[in-house]
Symmetry: C2
Subunit: 422 residues, 2 copies
């Protein structure tokens, strides 16, 4: 049994020493608060984003109307990209916000394949987020003869040793596409080491940073990575389905061509010429008109991350994750739980996964508990807890731990809980 | 000279007889109102959309958080598609809201080309919106050997005779892509007649309805058209960059394949299987996570259109456009203006274009007049006036007419006005 009184007292003390604690007030916390540990799926609403959206609606759309395109909206994709760039160690002019992660991945993979003629293999792993694999499968089918997707198999289902990648890097590999932090286990690749491997084999490296941006320090520029994509609605707190972003290393931008040549990526879209000429730089990877309200909901959250600083965020994330993991190991193994994330924080992102034979039912009980505890469930037996240092407290984690213990014997009946969106 | 007193008196009487006049109150009209005649670029903000967005922010995102995906968001793309379907004469389950018009066009053109093997020509016209041509040019380049885009030339720059299309419909035409209403002149094709021509030649027909949906009655189903795309931010009043939509005729859905295979188009996205299997029906053309705030801003505006009814909207649109055109012809030709839209309403959408050698400067003066009059400018000499019957009054048009006369002699100096986004 977890000693409840001691657990919550320990959490209280740790919270009182937390230098990032004040950021929690900058998020919208509803009257009936929940213990929210799913910021790895959908980040909380920053108060400043509320204000910004209302301004976009009443002033920009309602009052200035079409004039807002000139006054603000036209450069929003690039300006927001430059903000996100600061979170992931990228240079100005190398990141742009647009479309969804899947569409951005499609554009970059298509462009990368063309940039490596004579090479026919795209390499990934079976820890990768399925949508990434689906997109690549579609491209392979489209390109036809000879092209193939090769998946590195994770022996333990949690991790892939970077050296295993080396074994697959034959001379026909055009491109390697990996999630830097795996969505299920939070396994985190050493970015520079892997990128160096890939480059030595003459292939291009594309990182999916959906579970990394705002979660762990990333040095895209220092890693030498060629390409990256990521979403804005998890640790960046950009709101549901907020447009994603893409990164192209500066020196590659003029050599790559987007397969989707829309007017926002054209050199002079308002000239309305009949022939497409790509814009200079990263802008050429825009396609159509961006969804302004969803785009405007990104900057405030990113600014909070920049204000707190990724080193402080990472430090708290590791402390909280380590604390949570230690409690699981000390008190919950006997209830049937096992850790499904790397124990070494060097190889772990900012969520912690545990498994239990009754995981589905336990998740259901947690969500309907008092207070409600919201993690997420991943088939067949995984419960994920997102650690989001700007608003996660140790007390939140204490509630999660006690909930796990309390519901461990929940019947593993057939009750369905609906899927959730990472 | 326009007789001012009579003009405004006539407008006042016509406004008092307008059965749709009350709808104007359902839009957000700022304290310092402008004469807004650019609803063909960006529709006004419906009051109910304001309310809806605030609810999405505070309740759905802020309070329910990740649970909102199950409770509301997951089906929003389809539900909103079914709403728009009612505006364009399409069956339930044939329209879905997602991505931008450019991305949707890309997906459908790629799918259509695969569905017509052995045919290598895509046919369009030089009245089409440039982004559509850019997208097709990118596809042609990607497909390589043998594929070509053929553009039907408009002799007068305003229109293309439907019979001219017939001449281009050789047996290697796979697909015809046309804007139903041309963005510059408002020229409107007879949809069924053209579609029949195209089908007799064994090609597929794809309509861009960006300037049609909510502007003119459309009977997609009755026309037999195969495919369509359109935006939501013009006459549908869905807000800046609101996600676009796409239409696939029911019997074609299972035979077409999206080139961008994202998880939202997969059969069971939350199973997180490694292999893509497309969802049944229209949903397979979804790619990534949709931008929820921008998506939620669409339904209220569409509902207003359904409430007013397209026949009433069209009737007022034609009346207002005819009135405006008659005044231009009676009073403004001597000031150097000429009509650049079809005079016959049967072949005209819901905007009216006039040209003048000093158009750029005139536009600048109108926008900075008192009251401000907002049309839009299209190079080199076109001024477009959007007629949006749910909120356009005859008095608005009277202000525009007097402004045109007043500023006709504006110096055609080099002063730049920035481009605007249709």
């Amino acid at each position: 049994m977890i000693p409840l009184k001691e657990l919550f007292e320990e959490a209280r003390v740790l919270d009182s020493q937390d230098s990032l604690a004040a950021f929690r007030q900058d998020f919208f916390i509803p009257d009936s608060p929940v213990i929210y540990l799913d910021g790895n799926s959908l980040g909380r609403l920053p108060e400043k984003t509320r204000t910004r959206i209302m301004e976009e609606i009443d002033f920009r759309w309602g009052t200035r109307l079409i004039r807002s395109w000139n006054e603000q909206w036209y450069h929003l994709s690039q300006e927001t990209g430059d903000l996100i760039a600061q979170v992931i160690g990228a240079d100005r002019g190398t990141v742009i916000v647009c479309d969804s992660t899947s569409v951005n991945l499609y554009k970059l993979v298509m462009a990368a394949i063309k940039a490596r003629p004579g090479r026919f293999t795209i390499l990934s792993d079976d820890l990768n987020f399925p949508s990434d694999l689906y997109v690549i499968q579609g491209i392979i089918q489209q390109l036809g003869s000879g092209y193939r997707l090769e998946l590195i198999h994770s022996a333990d289902g949690l991790s892939v040793h970077p050296e295993d990648i080396g074994k697959h890097l034959r001379s026909d590999v055009a491109l390697v596409v990996l999630s830097h932090v795996a969505f299920r286990s939070a396994w985190m690749y050493p970015m520079k080491e892997v990128t160096d491997h890939v480059h030595r084999a003459g292939a291009l490296m594309l990182w999916d940073l959906s579970h990394s941006a705002g979660a762990v320090p990333v040095d895209l520029s220092g890693s030498g990575a060629d390409l990256a994509v990521g979403c804005s609605y998890k640790y960046l707190n950009g709101g549901p389905g907020a447009p994603a972003w893409l990164y192209i290393r500066k020196d590659l931008q003029e050599t790559l061509q987007s397969p989707v040549q829309g007017w926002f990526g054209a050199d002079d879209p308002f000239n309305f010429g009949l022939d497409y000429k790509p814009a200079d730089g990263i802008r050429r990877f825009l396609a159509g008109t961006p969804p302004v309200l969803s785009l405007s909901s990104i900057p405030a959250g990113v600014n909070m991350i920049l204000q707190a600083g990724m080193p402080s965020i990472r430090e708290k994330s590791v402390r909280q994750s380590d604390w949570f993991i230690r409690k699981v190991k000390d008190h919950l193994v006997s209830s049937g739980y096992s850790l499904q994330s790397p124990e070494n924080s060097v190889f772990r992102g900012s969520h912690v996964s545990v498994s239990h034979p009754n995981a589905r039912e336990i998740c259901h009980q947690l969500i309907h508990d008092q207070p409600e505890v919201i993690p997420d469930f991943r088939k067949p037996t995984i419960i994920r807890f997102g650690i989001t240092p700007l608003y996660t407290s140790y007390t939140d984690l204490a509630y999660a731990l006690t909930g796990l213990e309390k519901h461990a014997s929940a019947s593993s009946g057939a009750r369905e809980i609906p899927g959730e969106v990472t």
